[in-house]
Structures are given as C-alpha cells and as structure tokens.
C-alpha cells in the first residue's frame, strides 16, 4: 500500500519472525513514521529463497517509498542477501541472524564459543515451535529423526524479548521434548531497537 504522507517515507522489509516485535516497538515508542511489510518466516526452512524474495519486494515497493531498510540477518544465505542489498542500494541490520542482533554480536560470539551445542529459540520460535520446528522438520511424521536433528545439541537456550512466564514455560516444554537442558536469557529487543531508533529520529527531524 502506498503512503499518502508528503514527508519522506520509509519501508521496513522484515522477516515475519520479527513482525510482532517491530509492532510492539512501534507502539511503545509512537514510531508511526514507517510502514512494515513482512515476508513469510518459514522461508528460513529454505534460506536460498530469501535473497530473491527480498529483491522482488524491494523492486515492487521502490516507487512507493523514499527509503527502504531490510530487517533480515544473513539468515543462512551465505552472503547472497548482502549482494542483493548492495545491488539494490538499501541497508540491512547488522548480524548473521536474529539471535545475534537480540543478544549483541560480542555476547553471542562468547556464548557460541563457550558452547557450540546450544539450540536457540526467540519469542517467535517459542510461539511457533510446533509449526516451525516439529512440523517444519518433519518430526511429527518421523519422530525417529529427532536424534538426527538434535543429537549433537545439549542445551536449548531461550533468548527472550519479552518477559512472559507462559512463553518461558512453553520453552521449557520444548527443551524437554527435544531432550535438552534448558537455559533462559532475557535479551529485550537489543539491536533491533537500536537499528530502527536512529532511522526514526532522522525521519522525525526531516518531517518537522
């Protein structure tokens, strides 16, 4: 949908896994200066499709916006998304995946170095654990594959964006189901908030 405002307009093209978080940030801060359009989160099960889907969206919406920001990590595209970002002349949030921009690069690196056998969930992944993990990996149809997928993991780490006892309990159940230890780290919105905030400040200045 094209915006009708006369001030510079910005579009955030985001992974569907971030839609709820972006909406919460927008509502909390009163950031109503940008539009958000999401691509399906289940593209992560076939990350090779992400770069061209993002390119299609950029090209379709470029006539309608002055500026486009992309809220995707590299997300397993092996640098191909960055090539699209460069070719299309837009900007992307830093980081290889959403775990890292929630925790911060340094902290995530420390965690990975200390224990590469951790499986990470965010609020979104906890909410959609059955659809994306259990059904997405075919464990509902082939329970015997659980060990093929998770045999090398020892721990499930829930990186929480929002403090919610219900979600925490769901994450604990998920850990139990995968046969993993459970760890909980509250990250808040981390780099997601700090990536959007300066853009919004600029927009407000330009508009006033």
């Amino acid at each position: 949908m094209s915006p009708t405002v006369t001030s510079p307009s910005t579009l955030l093209i985001a992974c569907g896994a971030l839609a709820r978080e972006i909406t919460v940030l927008r509502d909390n801060h009163g950031w109503h200066h940008f539009d958000v359009q999401c691509l399906p989160a289940n593209l992560h099960n076939r990350p090779q499709l992400i770069p061209e889907k993002v390119r299609e969206k950029i090209q379709a919406e470029r006539p309608n916006f002055d500026r486009i920001l992309v809220l995707y990590g590299d997300c397993g595209t092996g640098g191909l998304l960055d090539r699209v970002i460069e070719e299309e002349g837009v900007e992307r949030i830093d980081g290889p995946h959403c775990y890292e921009f929630y925790t911060g690069a340094e902290k995530f690196q420390e965690m990975s170095d200390a224990d590469p056998c951790s499986f990470y969930l965010t609020d979104y992944l906890v909410r959609h654990f059955d659809t994306l993990i259990i059904k997405g990996l075919g464990i509902d149809r082939f329970p015997q594959l659980l060990d093929d997928y998770f045999g090398n993991y020892t721990k499930l780490v829930y990186l929480a964006q929002f403090e919610d006892a219900g979600l925490k309990a769901q994450a604990q159940v998920a850990a139990l189901r995968l046969g993993l230890e459970f760890d909980y780290i509250f990250t808040g919105y981390g780099g997601l908030e700090s990536f959007i905030a300066p853009e919004i400040t600029d927009l407000i200045k330009e508009a006033s």
Partner: protein, 239 residues
C-alpha cells in the same frame, strides 16, 4: 505404508522386481524392508557390490534427483538415508571381504564451532556407496584436528561442512593451513553446507562447492578420473 503393502512378501519377487521394490522402499524410507531385501539378495548369491550399486545407490540417486527438484525435502531424504544405512550396515563388512573396487579416500568433518552433521553424514554415506573410503572425523573440528587426520590418513579429498554463516569462514582457516604446510596441492578440497555457494567456495580457495551429496559424489568421481588421467600421462611421458 498401507496394510496391503505390509503383506507384500519380498521373497516372492524376482530379482528385477525386488530391486525395483527396493528403490521404492528407499524412496519411502522403509529401513526394515531394505534390511530384509538386502538379505534376500545375499541369499540369492548376489555380490555385495552389485546390491550396493544396483539397488541402494541407484535408489538414493532417484531420491537425490527429487530432492534437487524440490519434490522431496530434508525429512524424507533423512528417512531414505537411514534406510540406506540399514542396508549398508549389512553390506559394509562383506564389501571389505570381497575386495570391492575403491575409488579413492575422503576425509570429512564439520568445522570448528559447527555441530550440524546431517549434510556431512549424507555425503559420507553416499561417498561410501560410490566406493570411496571415508574417514569421518565428526563435528566441531579445529584446524589441528584436520591436519593430524590428513597426515594420518593421506586422503585424496578433504570435505568440510558448515551450516552456520558464522562458522563457514573457518573453512578458509583450514585451507590456509594446508597452503602454509605446503600440502594444498596434494589434496582436493570440497566444501558444502546450506549457507555456502559457488562464490564463497571460490573466494576461500576451495576446489569445489558441492550443493548436495549427489554432487559431491559426481565431483569426486570426475576429480579422481582426472587425477588418474594425469598420473597415466605423467608415467607415459617419463617412459
């Protein structure tokens, strides 16, 4: 699998029908049926190498084609692979006894920081199926472990695998170490994993990017025949 199919007695099928049925059972991920069928063919005095190539490898080739074409997905391929594994478990010791032809040797492992071994295991199994000796050094390998294993096993091919964007750059660390030790030209380096691509493989100085297990096998066969061709030419030249 339906009840009717459950009632199918594999022993009543002739050889051609049984091999065809094995292709179907591999496609459907039926490990028990594959186990049974392999034993039936052995009882009929089939050579282990023929069972491997005509029934199992050919069946997995069909699975690989449909995976590449987006008809089958990872869970189905894993079920097929586990079925092939059931057959390989019976055949492997027999293949060693009967002196099946050997294509070459591959050392394979996931890089430091990466514990995702589904792709690596598929490649290892398909390479074994194609007649390669495979030395699997497992997951989360630092460069030192690769170098020690290369020295010990003297492979023709080094296969490195990574699933994470954050771990794939470590492949270059290993390749650089091979260069530094002066052994880079002795070994072909294959890389693979979901986030990798041709451009990345080229940028780190790998010899080949293998997008799936079938391609790893094809590339390895081509590479070995090229090597053998070069060796023959060198011998002819010096003769």
């Amino acid at each position: 699998m339906g009840e009717q199919e459950n009632d199918l007695d594999l022993a009543t099928l002739n050889d051609d029908e049984l091999v065809q049925q094995m292709h179907d059972d591999l496609y459907d991920g039926l490990a028990e049926e594959i186990d049974t069928a392999v034993r039936i063919l052995l009882d009929r005095e089939w050579q282990p190498y023929d069972i491997l190539t005509k029934a199992l490898v050919e069946g997995m080739r069909i699975v690989g084609v449909d995976f590449r074409d987006g008809i089958l997905f990872v869970p189905e391929v894993l079920m097929s692979a586990n079925s092939m594994k059931a057959g390989m478990k019976i055949l492997k010791p027999l293949l060693a006894e009967t002196g099946a032809p050997k294509m070459g040797k591959m050392l394979i492992g996931t890089v430091k920081g990466d514990i995702h071994d589904i792709g690596k295991n598929l490649v290892a199994m398909m390479m074994e199926g194609a007649g390669f000796d495979v030395v699997d050094i497992g997951i989360n390998n630092p460069v030192e472990k690769y170098l020690e294993a290369i020295e010990e096993h003297q492979p023709d091919i080094l296969g490195m695998s990574a699933l994470l964007t954050t771990t794939m750059p470590y492949m270059k660390v290993v390749i650089d170490a091979l260069v530094e030790k002066g052994i880079r030209s002795d070994i072909e380096v294959f890389v693979g994993g979901a986030p990798l691509n041709e451009a990345f493989a080229e940028s780190i100085g790998a010899d080949a990017y293998c997008r799936d297990a079938a391609m790893a096998v094809e590339t390895a066969k081509e590479m070995m025949s090229r090597r053998q061709g070069s060796a023959s030419a060198a011998m002819a030249g010096s003769g």
